[in-house]
Amino acid sequence: MYQYDPIDQNLVDERVHQFRGQTSRYLAGTLGEDEFRQLRLRNGLYVQRHAPMLRVAIPYGMLASRQLRQLALIARRWDRGYGHFTTRQNIQFNWIALKDAPDVLASLAEVQMHAIQTSGNCVRNITSDPFAGIAPDEVVDPLVWCEILRQWSTFHPEFNWLPRKFKIAVSGSPEDRAAILVHDIGIAAVRNGAGETGFRVAVGGGLGRTPLVGHVIREFLPWQHLLTYMDAILRVYNLHGRRDNLYKARIKILVKELGPEVFARDVEAEWAHLRDGPATLIQEEVDRVGARFTQPAYETLAATMPEIEALIASDKGFAAWCRRNVHPHRVAGYAAVTLSLKKTGVPPGDATADEMDRIAALADRFSFGEMRITHEQNIVLADVRRRDLKALWDEAKALGMATPNVGLLTNIICCPGGDFCALANARSIPVAEAIQRRFDDLDYLLDIGEIDLNISGCINACGHHHVGHIGVLGVDKQGEEFYQVQVGGAQGTAASIGKVLGPAFSQEEIPDVVQQLIDLYIEQRDSDAERFIDVVRRIGIEPFKERVYGKADKKSQGGRGQLETAAS
């Protein structure tokens, strides 16, 4: 966990002061609605369906127990006793009154937190692998680079008014667990043949209205040049990204219109002026930032614990939890554990203030007082002794956070949807719940195996539906909610965008449609090892289309015909 130094703290405090002034001017009528909107967005405040929503940054997902307790306090004092963890490793509060917002920001600053640039057309929270720093397959620990990028992006004088929002993700492992290819910039920390650290840089990925997979524009950028190269990309985008059309303003459209090769050439030309300038990183700074991270005091432990292995052999429930929610650790005798926020009947990613306090207590007891928020909207305790797994399992069960479904169908990524969000065309949470209820048998879920099912309530794609193996998108047809289903999306190194199966379905039909897709998959797979996405890639989407529409066609063809027109 990075610890602020006095300058870091001062900047966050000054931001609170600045926002307090802006809010007063707005409430006094001397700052216009539209201008204040732009300013409050840069402090995480949206005006939502019910009240302003405050989105708090959790930089690269790292959170300390004292910070989570402060979030619980905020939920109780200024909200309605809960918060919603998002797919960008942030937390959102849905009921903050505008007049209270400056006080909420001040209370965040007390624990080295903020809502800076969590919205608006600027560089957003940097996201990363929830297993950063502890994953056995990690080549480079991305955390120090994430923090260096956080500082670079915070109040960047040149890039605070970009054409559109800008999202950067960093991964340090061959297996990409940060979905870097669907970000405006995706950074893979790598080592070259000489063992030197550098970055493979992809640009122009993203979801939303125009889902695209990013293009690698530099295979190996030596680490010293990270910030000057970022400056070059952002400057090309700031000057040449489209500002005439909100829907064409993301960098992915610029990259697409220019072509990745031309875009890369423009970046290199810009970089030629910045390269080796004063913003070139130096080892002293990397060391300084690294030293400001707390380091867990790992004990020397045996890699396996006989009593834990025995329990796995004898207790099916514990074994399932270990298989799905316990993850390998680079240090012998330790494991990372996912606390699932995907209990059926609870909106995915939601946690109450009491739950936050209890999770904080678990982090203190089992994981050096730290945790990570994942982009799949769960919480990871990253440094748990294997011998404590049983005790932690018991605690997690008591909290309702031991659902052993990580990587399985019911670990649904889901946006807040029409129940909370002003942008949504349709509700998403009830759809997730209906699917979770349909697939509530653990043996069956384990048999289906690894699959990502993602739901978004509108085209903005906060629920990452494009990269779900099965993706569900809420659409609006004359005031009625319908749902498009797509298959074949994937995150990770083989990222792909799902293809829409056909006309949309009513909410009630969705569990049946998912069932049909799963049935076909089970029939078609060549072994248990062949995952849903593998089968889609092997046989294509046509058989899935036929299965779904062949059976359901007669039922509501008229309504679907209309919908198709609306969607086109």
Binding site: I7, H156, P157, N160, W161, A279
Partner: protein
């Protein structure tokens, strides 16, 4: 006479900002900031009309600052307009003019600007600001003190915080 902020002070503005369709005749009246399009189409005539007087030019967000590089030392003022609130191209234009093209004269930001943008624009190299009419300029000066430091390099701060920190032994 209109007022503006120059070098963190509220002062009278003796210059006239000419509209996009301005003519050389209008510019001949002296102390005029002419649109880039007029400069490009009537450069020689403008130089002749100005005689030993002063010249200014203004750019829009989409204009390329590189277009006036060869003439930069002729201008007392280079102004850049933010036609819409939130058009951040002006920030990049300012840095390019100062850092890449070495412009030393007055760099003026005007258009749809609020006090909340002053400090960042100053960091991007601007030293003169015409804000929206609704802004009280004296009050707006406080905005320059909103943030005491910055992580990044900029036109105003050539060294990033990490190098300054190291030099100061912090």
């Amino acid at each position: 006479m209109a007022k503006l902020i120059r070098n963190r002070k509220v002062v009278e503005d003796s210059w006239r900002l000419l509209p996009p369709d301005a003519t050389v005749e209008q510019a001949a009246e002296g102390d005029s900031i002419v649109p880039l399009s007029l400069w490009k189409s009537s450069r020689e005539a403008l130089i002749a009309a100005a005689g030993s007087g002063r010249l200014g030019v203004w750019l829009d967000g989409a204009d390329e600052p590189g277009d006036i590089v060869a003439d930069l030392d002729r201008f007392t003022i280079v102004a850049v307009r933010a036609a819409k609130f939130g058009d951040g191209r002006i920030n990049s234009s300012g840095r390019l003019l100062r850092e890449r093209y070495g412009y030393k004269g007055e760099l003026r930001a005007f258009g749809e600007l609020l006090r909340d943008q002053l400090l960042m624009l100053e960091r991007c190299g601007f030293d003169a600001f015409v804000l929206r009419d609704s802004e009280n300029l004296e009050d707006a000066l406080a905005a320059f003190g909103e943030f005491s430091d910055q992580y990044q390099v900029s036109a105003q701060e050539p060294q990033p915080l990490f190098r300054r920190r190291l030099a100061a032994g912090r």
